[in-house]
Symmetry: C2
Subunit: 320 residues, 2 copies
Protein backbone atom coordinates (compact mmCIF):
# COMPACT_ATOMS: atom_id res chain seq x y z
CA UNK A 1 0.00 0.00 0.00
CA UNK A 2 1.24 3.51 -0.81
CA UNK A 3 1.52 5.71 2.21
CA UNK A 4 -1.43 7.71 3.41
CA UNK A 5 -1.12 10.57 5.86
CA UNK A 6 -1.97 8.05 8.57
CA UNK A 7 0.36 5.86 10.56
CA UNK A 8 -0.78 2.68 12.27
CA UNK A 9 1.54 3.13 15.24
CA UNK A 10 0.17 6.62 15.84
CA UNK A 11 -3.37 5.25 15.62
CA UNK A 12 -2.53 2.64 18.24
CA UNK A 13 -1.07 5.39 20.41
CA UNK A 14 -4.27 7.43 20.02
CA UNK A 15 -6.12 4.74 22.00
CA UNK A 16 -4.23 5.83 25.10
CA UNK A 17 -5.45 9.41 24.82
CA UNK A 18 -9.10 8.59 24.17
CA UNK A 19 -11.48 8.24 27.11
CA UNK A 20 -12.36 4.52 27.30
CA UNK A 21 -16.07 5.40 27.09
CA UNK A 22 -15.55 5.79 23.33
CA UNK A 23 -13.40 2.68 22.78
CA UNK A 24 -14.12 -1.02 22.29
CA UNK A 25 -17.67 -0.38 21.22
CA UNK A 26 -20.06 -3.26 20.53
CA UNK A 27 -19.30 -5.37 17.45
CA UNK A 28 -21.78 -8.18 16.90
CA UNK A 29 -23.51 -10.30 14.31
CA UNK A 30 -27.06 -9.10 13.87
CA UNK A 31 -28.88 -12.16 12.52
CA UNK A 32 -32.26 -10.46 12.68
CA UNK A 33 -31.18 -8.19 9.82
CA UNK A 34 -29.87 -10.99 7.68
CA UNK A 35 -33.06 -12.46 6.13
CA UNK A 36 -33.80 -9.02 4.71
CA UNK A 37 -30.29 -8.35 3.45
CA UNK A 38 -29.18 -11.73 2.19
CA UNK A 39 -25.75 -11.61 3.75
CA UNK A 40 -24.09 -11.96 7.14
CA UNK A 41 -24.19 -8.58 8.87
CA UNK A 42 -22.15 -7.33 11.78
CA UNK A 43 -22.90 -4.05 13.48
CA UNK A 44 -20.15 -1.80 14.83
CA UNK A 45 -22.14 0.44 17.16
CA UNK A 46 -20.87 3.96 17.79
CA UNK A 47 -24.00 5.44 19.37
CA UNK A 48 -23.80 4.19 22.97
CA UNK A 49 -21.59 6.90 24.45
CA UNK A 50 -22.03 10.39 25.92
CA UNK A 51 -22.17 12.14 22.52
CA UNK A 52 -23.88 9.37 20.57
CA UNK A 53 -21.44 9.31 17.67
CA UNK A 54 -17.93 8.13 16.81
CA UNK A 55 -16.64 11.71 16.75
CA UNK A 56 -15.55 11.57 20.39
CA UNK A 57 -12.64 9.35 19.35
CA UNK A 58 -11.12 12.16 17.31
CA UNK A 59 -11.94 15.05 19.62
CA UNK A 60 -10.37 13.19 22.52
CA UNK A 61 -7.10 13.05 20.60
CA UNK A 62 -7.29 16.75 19.74
CA UNK A 63 -8.32 17.95 23.17
CA UNK A 64 -5.97 15.60 24.96
CA UNK A 65 -2.99 16.94 23.06
CA UNK A 66 -4.11 20.59 23.35
CA UNK A 67 -4.63 20.28 27.09
CA UNK A 68 -1.06 19.11 27.56
CA UNK A 69 -0.08 22.72 27.00
CA UNK A 70 -2.58 24.14 29.48
CA UNK A 71 -5.98 25.74 28.92
CA UNK A 72 -6.51 27.03 25.42
CA UNK A 73 -9.20 27.79 22.91
CA UNK A 74 -10.38 25.87 19.89
CA UNK A 75 -12.93 26.41 17.14
CA UNK A 76 -14.47 24.01 14.64
CA UNK A 77 -17.15 23.90 12.01
CA UNK A 78 -19.55 21.06 12.50
CA UNK A 79 -22.58 19.46 10.94
CA UNK A 80 -23.50 18.76 14.57
CA UNK A 81 -21.68 15.67 15.77
CA UNK A 82 -18.11 16.96 15.75
CA UNK A 83 -19.24 20.02 17.67
CA UNK A 84 -20.90 17.95 20.39
CA UNK A 85 -17.86 15.75 20.69
CA UNK A 86 -15.39 18.64 20.79
CA UNK A 87 -17.55 20.38 23.39
CA UNK A 88 -17.58 17.20 25.51
CA UNK A 89 -13.83 16.63 25.21
CA UNK A 90 -13.06 20.29 25.78
CA UNK A 91 -15.36 20.78 28.77
CA UNK A 92 -13.63 18.15 30.87
CA UNK A 93 -10.21 19.62 30.07
CA UNK A 94 -11.07 23.27 30.58
CA UNK A 95 -10.76 24.22 26.93
CA UNK A 96 -12.70 27.15 25.51
CA UNK A 97 -14.71 25.60 22.66
CA UNK A 98 -16.49 27.44 19.85
CA UNK A 99 -18.59 25.51 17.36
CA UNK A 100 -19.80 26.99 14.09
CA UNK A 101 -22.80 25.30 12.52
CA UNK A 102 -25.49 25.89 9.97
CA UNK A 103 -28.69 27.16 11.50
CA UNK A 104 -30.38 24.45 9.44
CA UNK A 105 -28.59 21.67 11.34
CA UNK A 106 -30.93 19.45 13.41
CA UNK A 107 -32.09 21.34 16.50
CA UNK A 108 -31.24 18.35 18.67
CA UNK A 109 -27.58 18.60 17.66
CA UNK A 110 -27.45 22.36 18.23
CA UNK A 111 -29.17 22.04 21.62
CA UNK A 112 -26.66 19.43 22.71
CA UNK A 113 -23.70 21.60 21.71
CA UNK A 114 -25.09 24.42 23.88
CA UNK A 115 -25.83 22.03 26.74
CA UNK A 116 -22.20 20.95 26.71
CA UNK A 117 -21.14 24.54 27.44
CA UNK A 118 -19.65 25.35 24.04
CA UNK A 119 -20.14 28.71 22.38
CA UNK A 120 -22.34 28.09 19.35
CA UNK A 121 -22.11 30.36 16.30
CA UNK A 122 -24.78 29.85 13.66
CA UNK A 123 -24.39 30.74 10.00
CA UNK A 124 -27.14 31.15 7.45
CA UNK A 125 -25.53 28.88 4.89
CA UNK A 126 -24.70 25.20 4.88
CA UNK A 127 -21.76 23.25 6.30
CA UNK A 128 -19.34 24.81 3.82
CA UNK A 129 -20.34 28.28 5.01
CA UNK A 130 -19.72 27.12 8.58
CA UNK A 131 -16.24 25.96 7.56
CA UNK A 132 -15.44 29.40 6.17
CA UNK A 133 -16.72 31.16 9.29
CA UNK A 134 -14.78 28.87 11.60
CA UNK A 135 -11.58 29.56 9.68
CA UNK A 136 -12.24 33.30 9.92
CA UNK A 137 -12.81 33.09 13.69
CA UNK A 138 -9.61 31.10 14.12
CA UNK A 139 -7.61 33.68 12.17
CA UNK A 140 -9.19 36.64 13.93
CA UNK A 141 -8.95 35.23 17.45
CA UNK A 142 -5.71 33.38 16.95
CA UNK A 143 -7.12 30.10 18.25
CA UNK A 144 -6.70 26.55 17.07
CA UNK A 145 -8.93 25.64 14.13
CA UNK A 146 -10.05 22.01 14.06
CA UNK A 147 -10.79 20.91 10.53
CA UNK A 148 -12.65 17.63 10.38
CA UNK A 149 -10.93 15.08 8.10
CA UNK A 150 -8.04 17.45 7.33
CA UNK A 151 -6.67 17.49 10.88
CA UNK A 152 -4.94 14.18 11.22
CA UNK A 153 -6.20 13.66 14.77
CA UNK A 154 -9.78 13.43 13.52
CA UNK A 155 -8.71 10.67 11.15
CA UNK A 156 -6.56 8.90 13.75
CA UNK A 157 -9.40 8.94 16.24
CA UNK A 158 -11.84 7.47 13.74
CA UNK A 159 -9.19 4.98 12.68
CA UNK A 160 -9.24 3.39 16.12
CA UNK A 161 -12.57 1.88 15.03
CA UNK A 162 -10.56 -0.03 12.46
CA UNK A 163 -8.28 -1.50 15.12
CA UNK A 164 -11.39 -2.91 16.79
CA UNK A 165 -12.62 -4.52 13.57
CA UNK A 166 -9.62 -6.44 12.36
CA UNK A 167 -9.50 -9.14 15.04
CA UNK A 168 -12.50 -10.93 13.59
CA UNK A 169 -12.69 -11.89 9.91
CA UNK A 170 -15.07 -10.10 7.54
CA UNK A 171 -15.34 -9.65 3.80
CA UNK A 172 -16.29 -5.99 3.48
CA UNK A 173 -16.81 -2.91 5.61
CA UNK A 174 -19.31 -0.21 4.72
CA UNK A 175 -18.31 3.27 5.86
CA UNK A 176 -20.37 6.44 5.72
CA UNK A 177 -18.49 8.99 3.62
CA UNK A 178 -18.65 12.68 4.42
CA UNK A 179 -15.47 14.68 4.83
CA UNK A 180 -13.57 11.41 4.85
CA UNK A 181 -12.06 11.14 8.35
CA UNK A 182 -13.80 7.85 9.10
CA UNK A 183 -13.35 6.41 5.62
CA UNK A 184 -9.65 7.21 5.38
CA UNK A 185 -8.96 6.30 9.01
CA UNK A 186 -10.78 2.98 9.10
CA UNK A 187 -9.74 2.29 5.52
CA UNK A 188 -6.06 2.78 6.37
CA UNK A 189 -6.22 0.31 9.25
CA UNK A 190 -8.20 -2.29 7.30
CA UNK A 191 -5.83 -2.11 4.35
CA UNK A 192 -2.83 -2.38 6.69
CA UNK A 193 -4.10 -5.15 8.96
CA UNK A 194 -6.89 -6.97 7.06
CA UNK A 195 -5.96 -6.36 3.44
CA UNK A 196 -8.30 -9.06 2.14
CA UNK A 197 -11.36 -7.08 3.23
CA UNK A 198 -13.09 -4.69 0.88
CA UNK A 199 -13.41 -1.04 1.98
CA UNK A 200 -16.57 0.48 0.56
CA UNK A 201 -17.58 4.08 1.16
CA UNK A 202 -21.22 5.09 0.99
CA UNK A 203 -22.58 8.55 0.36
CA UNK A 204 -26.05 9.92 -0.45
CA UNK A 205 -26.84 10.63 -4.11
CA UNK A 206 -27.90 14.06 -2.88
CA UNK A 207 -24.40 14.89 -1.53
CA UNK A 208 -22.05 13.07 -3.87
CA UNK A 209 -19.00 15.35 -4.00
CA UNK A 210 -16.43 13.07 -2.40
CA UNK A 211 -17.70 9.97 -4.20
CA UNK A 212 -17.57 11.69 -7.57
CA UNK A 213 -14.10 12.95 -6.68
CA UNK A 214 -12.95 9.43 -5.81
CA UNK A 215 -14.20 8.07 -9.13
CA UNK A 216 -12.61 10.86 -11.19
CA UNK A 217 -9.45 10.88 -9.06
CA UNK A 218 -9.64 14.67 -8.67
CA UNK A 219 -11.63 17.04 -6.50
CA UNK A 220 -15.15 17.58 -7.76
CA UNK A 221 -17.31 20.10 -5.90
CA UNK A 222 -21.06 20.51 -6.08
CA UNK A 223 -23.16 23.64 -5.88
CA UNK A 224 -25.62 22.22 -3.41
CA UNK A 225 -26.30 19.23 -1.22
CA UNK A 226 -29.76 17.82 -0.72
CA UNK A 227 -30.06 14.89 1.65
CA UNK A 228 -31.56 13.97 5.00
CA UNK A 229 -28.12 12.62 5.94
CA UNK A 230 -27.02 15.94 7.40
CA UNK A 231 -23.85 14.44 8.86
CA UNK A 232 -22.29 13.84 5.45
CA UNK A 233 -23.64 16.75 3.42
CA UNK A 234 -20.36 18.41 2.40
CA UNK A 235 -19.81 19.90 -1.04
CA UNK A 236 -16.06 20.64 -1.17
CA UNK A 237 -13.77 17.67 -0.66
CA UNK A 238 -10.36 18.38 0.85
CA UNK A 239 -7.59 17.40 -1.63
CA UNK A 240 -5.31 15.73 0.95
CA UNK A 241 -8.21 13.62 2.22
CA UNK A 242 -9.15 12.59 -1.29
CA UNK A 243 -5.54 11.52 -1.89
CA UNK A 244 -5.75 9.22 1.13
CA UNK A 245 -9.15 7.92 0.14
CA UNK A 246 -7.82 6.97 -3.30
CA UNK A 247 -5.25 4.77 -1.57
CA UNK A 248 -7.53 2.94 0.88
CA UNK A 249 -11.04 2.71 -0.61
CA UNK A 250 -11.95 -0.13 -2.94
CA UNK A 251 -15.16 1.54 -3.98
CA UNK A 252 -17.42 4.48 -3.27
CA UNK A 253 -21.12 4.16 -3.94
CA UNK A 254 -24.11 6.49 -3.86
CA UNK A 255 -27.50 5.61 -2.40
CA UNK A 256 -30.97 7.09 -2.74
CA UNK A 257 -32.81 8.89 0.05
CA UNK A 258 -35.52 6.22 0.02
CA UNK A 259 -32.89 3.58 0.71
CA UNK A 260 -31.51 5.58 3.63
CA UNK A 261 -34.99 5.77 5.12
CA UNK A 262 -35.53 2.05 4.50
CA UNK A 263 -32.22 1.39 6.21
CA UNK A 264 -33.17 3.46 9.25
CA UNK A 265 -36.48 1.65 9.46
CA UNK A 266 -34.83 -1.75 9.14
CA UNK A 267 -32.33 -0.94 11.89
CA UNK A 268 -35.23 0.16 14.09
CA UNK A 269 -37.54 -2.77 13.39
CA UNK A 270 -35.03 -5.59 13.16
CA UNK A 271 -32.07 -4.43 15.22
CA UNK A 272 -33.71 -2.15 17.81
CA UNK A 273 -31.36 0.70 16.92
CA UNK A 274 -32.22 4.39 16.66
CA UNK A 275 -29.77 5.87 14.18
CA UNK A 276 -29.34 9.11 12.31
CA UNK A 277 -29.57 8.98 8.52
CA UNK A 278 -25.78 8.93 7.99
CA UNK A 279 -25.57 5.79 10.12
CA UNK A 280 -27.99 3.95 7.84
CA UNK A 281 -25.91 4.46 4.69
CA UNK A 282 -24.33 1.01 4.96
CA UNK A 283 -27.65 -0.79 5.19
CA UNK A 284 -28.90 1.39 2.33
CA UNK A 285 -25.98 0.19 0.21
CA UNK A 286 -26.78 -3.44 0.99
CA UNK A 287 -30.42 -2.87 0.08
CA UNK A 288 -29.48 -1.32 -3.25
CA UNK A 289 -27.07 -4.03 -4.34
CA UNK A 290 -28.00 -7.36 -2.78
CA UNK A 291 -26.16 -9.36 -5.41
CA UNK A 292 -22.88 -7.72 -4.56
CA UNK A 293 -23.09 -8.75 -0.91
CA UNK A 294 -24.96 -12.06 -1.17
CA UNK A 295 -23.46 -14.68 1.11
CA UNK A 296 -20.64 -12.40 2.28
CA UNK A 297 -19.93 -11.13 5.80
CA UNK A 298 -20.37 -7.37 5.84
CA UNK A 299 -19.58 -4.99 8.70
CA UNK A 300 -21.49 -1.73 8.80
CA UNK A 301 -20.42 1.06 11.11
CA UNK A 302 -23.45 2.59 12.81
CA UNK A 303 -21.73 5.89 13.32
CA UNK A 304 -24.26 8.15 15.02
CA UNK A 305 -27.66 8.41 16.63
CA UNK A 306 -28.27 12.14 16.92
CA UNK A 307 -31.51 12.56 15.09
CA UNK A 308 -34.45 14.89 15.36
CA UNK A 309 -37.09 12.63 16.88
CA UNK A 310 -40.03 14.22 15.08
CA UNK A 311 -38.36 13.60 11.74
CA UNK A 312 -37.31 10.15 12.91
CA UNK A 313 -40.87 9.23 13.80
CA UNK A 314 -41.94 10.20 10.29
CA UNK A 315 -39.11 8.23 8.68
CA UNK A 316 -39.59 5.00 10.59
CA UNK A 317 -43.36 5.40 10.69
CA UNK A 318 -43.86 4.90 14.36
CA UNK A 319 -47.55 5.56 14.11
CA UNK A 320 -48.69 1.97 14.62
CA UNK B 1 -21.92 -8.99 54.63
CA UNK B 2 -23.38 -12.42 55.35
CA UNK B 3 -22.60 -14.96 52.69
CA UNK B 4 -24.85 -15.32 49.67
CA UNK B 5 -24.71 -18.31 47.37
CA UNK B 6 -22.41 -16.27 45.18
CA UNK B 7 -18.66 -16.00 45.31
CA UNK B 8 -16.75 -13.05 43.88
CA UNK B 9 -13.81 -15.18 42.73
CA UNK B 10 -16.16 -17.49 40.83
CA UNK B 11 -17.83 -14.47 39.24
CA UNK B 12 -14.44 -13.21 38.09
CA UNK B 13 -13.70 -16.66 36.70
CA UNK B 14 -17.00 -16.64 34.80
CA UNK B 15 -15.67 -13.80 32.65
CA UNK B 16 -13.23 -16.24 31.06
CA UNK B 17 -16.03 -18.56 29.92
CA UNK B 18 -18.32 -15.88 28.52
CA UNK B 19 -17.97 -14.89 24.88
CA UNK B 20 -16.50 -11.35 24.88
CA UNK B 21 -19.42 -10.13 22.76
CA UNK B 22 -21.46 -10.05 26.00
CA UNK B 23 -18.81 -8.44 28.22
CA UNK B 24 -17.63 -4.89 28.86
CA UNK B 25 -20.84 -3.40 27.57
CA UNK B 26 -21.27 0.37 27.28
CA UNK B 27 -21.47 2.30 30.55
CA UNK B 28 -21.91 6.02 30.07
CA UNK B 29 -23.40 9.17 31.53
CA UNK B 30 -26.53 10.08 29.64
CA UNK B 31 -26.90 13.80 30.24
CA UNK B 32 -29.83 14.09 27.86
CA UNK B 33 -31.96 12.16 30.36
CA UNK B 34 -30.92 14.23 33.33
CA UNK B 35 -33.06 17.38 33.00
CA UNK B 36 -36.13 15.12 33.11
CA UNK B 37 -34.95 12.98 35.99
CA UNK B 38 -33.22 15.48 38.24
CA UNK B 39 -30.20 13.33 38.94
CA UNK B 40 -27.02 12.16 37.25
CA UNK B 41 -27.84 9.06 35.19
CA UNK B 42 -25.51 6.43 33.80
CA UNK B 43 -26.70 3.76 31.42
CA UNK B 44 -25.34 0.22 31.51
CA UNK B 45 -26.42 -1.06 28.11
CA UNK B 46 -27.07 -4.78 27.70
CA UNK B 47 -28.94 -4.69 24.38
CA UNK B 48 -26.10 -4.40 21.85
CA UNK B 49 -25.25 -8.06 21.43
CA UNK B 50 -26.48 -11.03 19.38
CA UNK B 51 -29.42 -11.81 21.70
CA UNK B 52 -30.20 -8.26 22.78
CA UNK B 53 -30.27 -8.93 26.51
CA UNK B 54 -27.92 -9.60 29.42
CA UNK B 55 -28.97 -13.26 29.57
CA UNK B 56 -26.13 -14.36 27.31
CA UNK B 57 -23.73 -13.81 30.18
CA UNK B 58 -25.37 -16.58 32.20
CA UNK B 59 -26.05 -19.00 29.37
CA UNK B 60 -22.44 -18.77 28.29
CA UNK B 61 -21.38 -19.98 31.71
CA UNK B 62 -23.90 -22.84 31.63
CA UNK B 63 -23.23 -23.93 28.07
CA UNK B 64 -19.48 -23.51 28.42
CA UNK B 65 -19.36 -25.83 31.40
CA UNK B 66 -21.80 -28.35 29.87
CA UNK B 67 -19.84 -28.51 26.64
CA UNK B 68 -16.68 -29.46 28.52
CA UNK B 69 -18.25 -32.88 28.88
CA UNK B 70 -19.13 -33.26 25.22
CA UNK B 71 -22.45 -32.71 23.43
CA UNK B 72 -25.46 -32.88 25.66
CA UNK B 73 -29.01 -31.67 26.01
CA UNK B 74 -30.50 -28.93 28.09
CA UNK B 75 -33.97 -27.55 28.74
CA UNK B 76 -35.15 -24.30 30.28
CA UNK B 77 -38.30 -22.36 30.89
CA UNK B 78 -38.09 -18.83 29.61
CA UNK B 79 -40.09 -15.64 29.41
CA UNK B 80 -38.23 -15.23 26.11
CA UNK B 81 -34.79 -13.81 26.75
CA UNK B 82 -33.18 -16.72 28.58
CA UNK B 83 -34.41 -19.04 25.83
CA UNK B 84 -32.82 -16.95 23.10
CA UNK B 85 -29.59 -16.73 25.00
CA UNK B 86 -29.44 -20.44 25.81
CA UNK B 87 -30.23 -21.25 22.18
CA UNK B 88 -27.39 -18.96 21.05
CA UNK B 89 -24.88 -20.36 23.52
CA UNK B 90 -25.95 -23.94 22.85
CA UNK B 91 -25.95 -23.70 19.06
CA UNK B 92 -22.29 -22.77 18.85
CA UNK B 93 -21.34 -25.61 21.18
CA UNK B 94 -23.46 -28.33 19.62
CA UNK B 95 -25.86 -28.62 22.54
CA UNK B 96 -29.42 -29.82 22.03
CA UNK B 97 -31.53 -26.97 23.45
CA UNK B 98 -35.22 -27.09 24.35
CA UNK B 99 -36.99 -23.93 25.48
CA UNK B 100 -40.40 -23.96 27.15
CA UNK B 101 -42.32 -20.71 26.98
CA UNK B 102 -45.81 -19.34 27.38
CA UNK B 103 -47.63 -19.05 24.10
CA UNK B 104 -48.49 -15.53 25.24
CA UNK B 105 -44.83 -14.48 25.26
CA UNK B 106 -43.99 -11.78 22.66
CA UNK B 107 -43.94 -13.32 19.19
CA UNK B 108 -40.61 -11.66 18.48
CA UNK B 109 -38.98 -13.56 21.33
CA UNK B 110 -40.52 -16.89 20.27
CA UNK B 111 -39.51 -16.34 16.65
CA UNK B 112 -35.93 -15.64 17.69
CA UNK B 113 -35.74 -18.80 19.78
CA UNK B 114 -36.83 -20.84 16.76
CA UNK B 115 -34.44 -18.98 14.46
CA UNK B 116 -31.58 -19.94 16.76
CA UNK B 117 -32.33 -23.62 16.13
CA UNK B 118 -33.76 -24.46 19.56
CA UNK B 119 -36.75 -26.73 20.00
CA UNK B 120 -39.59 -24.52 21.28
CA UNK B 121 -42.35 -26.00 23.44
CA UNK B 122 -45.30 -23.71 24.11
CA UNK B 123 -47.61 -23.99 27.11
CA UNK B 124 -51.03 -22.44 27.51
CA UNK B 125 -50.30 -20.90 30.89
CA UNK B 126 -47.87 -18.26 32.01
CA UNK B 127 -44.17 -18.39 32.91
CA UNK B 128 -44.85 -20.50 36.02
CA UNK B 129 -46.61 -23.09 33.86
CA UNK B 130 -43.57 -23.11 31.58
CA UNK B 131 -41.34 -23.73 34.59
CA UNK B 132 -43.39 -26.78 35.55
CA UNK B 133 -43.33 -28.16 32.01
CA UNK B 134 -39.59 -27.66 31.67
CA UNK B 135 -39.02 -29.54 34.92
CA UNK B 136 -41.23 -32.37 33.69
CA UNK B 137 -39.34 -32.58 30.39
CA UNK B 138 -36.02 -32.66 32.23
CA UNK B 139 -37.18 -35.49 34.47
CA UNK B 140 -38.71 -37.46 31.62
CA UNK B 141 -35.82 -37.07 29.20
CA UNK B 142 -33.09 -37.11 31.80
CA UNK B 143 -31.57 -33.86 30.53
CA UNK B 144 -30.12 -30.87 32.35
CA UNK B 145 -32.75 -28.42 33.58
CA UNK B 146 -31.62 -24.80 33.64
CA UNK B 147 -33.56 -22.86 36.24
CA UNK B 148 -33.13 -19.12 35.90
CA UNK B 149 -32.02 -17.46 39.15
CA UNK B 150 -31.83 -20.79 41.00
CA UNK B 151 -28.95 -22.19 38.94
CA UNK B 152 -25.97 -20.36 40.26
CA UNK B 153 -24.45 -19.92 36.79
CA UNK B 154 -27.35 -17.65 35.79
CA UNK B 155 -26.58 -15.45 38.79
CA UNK B 156 -22.82 -15.56 38.25
CA UNK B 157 -23.23 -14.57 34.62
CA UNK B 158 -25.45 -11.63 35.49
CA UNK B 159 -23.08 -10.72 38.31
CA UNK B 160 -20.32 -9.99 35.81
CA UNK B 161 -22.30 -6.81 35.04
CA UNK B 162 -21.50 -5.78 38.60
CA UNK B 163 -17.77 -6.21 38.04
CA UNK B 164 -18.07 -3.71 35.17
CA UNK B 165 -19.86 -1.15 37.34
CA UNK B 166 -17.65 -0.86 40.36
CA UNK B 167 -14.66 0.84 38.76
CA UNK B 168 -16.47 4.16 38.54
CA UNK B 169 -18.21 5.74 41.51
CA UNK B 170 -21.99 5.90 41.73
CA UNK B 171 -24.55 6.33 44.49
CA UNK B 172 -27.22 3.80 43.56
CA UNK B 173 -27.92 1.10 40.99
CA UNK B 174 -31.42 0.29 39.79
CA UNK B 175 -31.90 -3.35 38.83
CA UNK B 176 -34.95 -4.92 37.20
CA UNK B 177 -36.26 -7.63 39.49
CA UNK B 178 -37.81 -10.80 38.10
CA UNK B 179 -36.58 -14.18 39.24
CA UNK B 180 -33.67 -12.44 40.90
CA UNK B 181 -30.57 -13.61 39.01
CA UNK B 182 -29.54 -10.10 38.01
CA UNK B 183 -30.51 -8.49 41.31
CA UNK B 184 -28.69 -11.02 43.48
CA UNK B 185 -25.72 -11.28 41.12
CA UNK B 186 -25.12 -7.58 40.61
CA UNK B 187 -26.14 -6.88 44.20
CA UNK B 188 -23.56 -9.34 45.52
CA UNK B 189 -20.74 -7.71 43.59
CA UNK B 190 -21.78 -4.16 44.47
CA UNK B 191 -22.05 -5.00 48.17
CA UNK B 192 -18.67 -6.74 48.04
CA UNK B 193 -16.74 -4.17 46.02
CA UNK B 194 -18.66 -0.88 46.26
CA UNK B 195 -20.45 -1.20 49.58
CA UNK B 196 -21.31 2.49 49.75
CA UNK B 197 -23.66 2.22 46.78
CA UNK B 198 -27.34 1.52 47.25
CA UNK B 199 -28.79 -1.56 45.51
CA UNK B 200 -32.41 -0.95 44.57
CA UNK B 201 -34.56 -3.57 42.86
CA UNK B 202 -37.50 -2.50 40.72
CA UNK B 203 -40.51 -4.60 39.84
CA UNK B 204 -43.88 -3.78 38.26
CA UNK B 205 -46.86 -3.31 40.59
CA UNK B 206 -48.59 -5.87 38.39
CA UNK B 207 -46.04 -8.61 39.17
CA UNK B 208 -44.93 -7.87 42.73
CA UNK B 209 -44.24 -11.34 44.17
CA UNK B 210 -40.50 -11.05 44.76
CA UNK B 211 -40.74 -7.47 46.02
CA UNK B 212 -43.47 -8.37 48.50
CA UNK B 213 -41.40 -11.38 49.53
CA UNK B 214 -38.36 -9.17 50.13
CA UNK B 215 -40.36 -6.77 52.31
CA UNK B 216 -41.96 -9.57 54.34
CA UNK B 217 -38.74 -11.59 54.47
CA UNK B 218 -40.57 -14.75 53.39
CA UNK B 219 -41.83 -16.10 50.08
CA UNK B 220 -45.08 -14.51 48.96
CA UNK B 221 -46.68 -15.85 45.80
CA UNK B 222 -49.38 -14.22 43.72
CA UNK B 223 -52.23 -15.80 41.78
CA UNK B 224 -51.66 -13.78 38.66
CA UNK B 225 -49.30 -11.33 37.06
CA UNK B 226 -50.48 -8.46 34.92
CA UNK B 227 -47.79 -6.27 33.39
CA UNK B 228 -46.37 -5.34 30.01
CA UNK B 229 -42.94 -6.14 31.48
CA UNK B 230 -43.11 -9.76 30.33
CA UNK B 231 -39.49 -10.40 31.24
CA UNK B 232 -40.13 -10.08 34.98
CA UNK B 233 -43.66 -11.47 35.29
CA UNK B 234 -43.01 -14.35 37.69
CA UNK B 235 -45.40 -15.26 40.50
CA UNK B 236 -43.47 -17.78 42.63
CA UNK B 237 -40.18 -16.58 44.07
CA UNK B 238 -37.50 -19.19 44.69
CA UNK B 239 -36.65 -19.36 48.43
CA UNK B 240 -32.86 -19.60 47.95
CA UNK B 241 -32.89 -16.59 45.66
CA UNK B 242 -34.97 -14.58 48.13
CA UNK B 243 -32.46 -15.44 50.85
CA UNK B 244 -29.68 -13.96 48.74
CA UNK B 245 -31.75 -10.94 47.83
CA UNK B 246 -32.39 -10.22 51.50
CA UNK B 247 -28.62 -9.99 51.98
CA UNK B 248 -27.73 -7.74 49.06
CA UNK B 249 -30.70 -5.47 48.28
CA UNK B 250 -31.15 -2.20 50.13
CA UNK B 251 -34.65 -1.76 48.81
CA UNK B 252 -37.21 -3.18 46.43
CA UNK B 253 -39.78 -0.89 44.89
CA UNK B 254 -42.85 -1.31 42.71
CA UNK B 255 -43.71 0.91 39.76
CA UNK B 256 -46.87 1.53 37.77
CA UNK B 257 -47.39 0.45 34.18
CA UNK B 258 -47.76 4.10 33.13
CA UNK B 259 -44.32 4.82 34.54
CA UNK B 260 -42.80 1.91 32.66
CA UNK B 261 -44.27 3.28 29.44
CA UNK B 262 -43.07 6.78 30.29
CA UNK B 263 -39.61 5.31 30.92
CA UNK B 264 -39.56 3.54 27.56
CA UNK B 265 -40.62 6.74 25.85
CA UNK B 266 -38.00 8.77 27.66
CA UNK B 267 -35.25 6.31 26.74
CA UNK B 268 -36.41 6.49 23.12
CA UNK B 269 -36.75 10.26 22.89
CA UNK B 270 -33.83 11.36 25.01
CA UNK B 271 -31.35 8.49 24.85
CA UNK B 272 -32.11 6.97 21.44
CA UNK B 273 -32.58 3.54 22.97
CA UNK B 274 -35.18 0.94 22.02
CA UNK B 275 -35.82 -1.12 25.14
CA UNK B 276 -38.28 -3.72 26.30
CA UNK B 277 -40.54 -2.82 29.25
CA UNK B 278 -38.39 -4.64 31.84
CA UNK B 279 -35.42 -2.49 30.81
CA UNK B 280 -37.32 0.71 31.58
CA UNK B 281 -38.06 -0.22 35.20
CA UNK B 282 -35.11 1.79 36.51
CA UNK B 283 -36.17 4.97 34.75
CA UNK B 284 -39.73 4.32 35.93
CA UNK B 285 -38.48 4.19 39.51
CA UNK B 286 -36.65 7.51 39.08
CA UNK B 287 -39.80 9.08 37.64
CA UNK B 288 -41.90 7.89 40.56
CA UNK B 289 -39.58 9.11 43.31
CA UNK B 290 -37.59 12.11 42.12
CA UNK B 291 -36.86 13.32 45.63
CA UNK B 292 -35.12 10.11 46.52
CA UNK B 293 -32.64 10.40 43.68
CA UNK B 294 -32.28 14.18 43.39
CA UNK B 295 -28.67 15.18 42.90
CA UNK B 296 -27.36 11.63 43.18
CA UNK B 297 -25.55 9.55 40.55
CA UNK B 298 -27.76 6.63 39.58
CA UNK B 299 -26.85 3.72 37.31
CA UNK B 300 -29.70 1.94 35.55
CA UNK B 301 -29.11 -1.37 33.83
CA UNK B 302 -30.87 -1.41 30.47
CA UNK B 303 -31.18 -5.15 30.44
CA UNK B 304 -32.98 -6.04 27.21
CA UNK B 305 -34.37 -4.80 23.94
CA UNK B 306 -36.51 -7.65 22.69
CA UNK B 307 -39.85 -5.99 22.21
CA UNK B 308 -42.77 -6.48 19.88
CA UNK B 309 -42.42 -3.49 17.58
CA UNK B 310 -46.13 -2.97 17.05
CA UNK B 311 -46.68 -2.73 20.77
CA UNK B 312 -43.55 -0.60 21.07
CA UNK B 313 -44.85 1.87 18.50
CA UNK B 314 -48.03 2.23 20.56
CA UNK B 315 -46.11 2.67 23.80
CA UNK B 316 -43.68 5.30 22.61
CA UNK B 317 -46.59 6.96 20.89
CA UNK B 318 -45.66 8.32 17.98
CA UNK B 319 -47.53 9.91 15.32
CA UNK B 320 -45.38 13.02 15.22
Amino acid sequence: MQETRLDTARIRAARWVIDPVFLDTPLYRCETLEPNLGCAVSIKLETANPVRSFKGRGTEVIAGRLAEHGPSAVVCASAGNLGQALAWSGRRRGLDVTVVASRFAPATKLDRIRALDARLVLVDGDFEAARERAAAIARHDGVRLVEDSLDIETCEGAATIGLELVNTPFDAVLIALGGGAMATGVGHVVKALAPGAEVICVQPLGAPAMTRSWHRRRVVTTDSADTIADGVAGRRPIPAVLDDLLLVADDAVLVREASIIAGMRMLFDHAGLVVEPSAALGVAAMLEDRDRFAGRHVVTIVCGGNVDMDAYRRWVGTAA
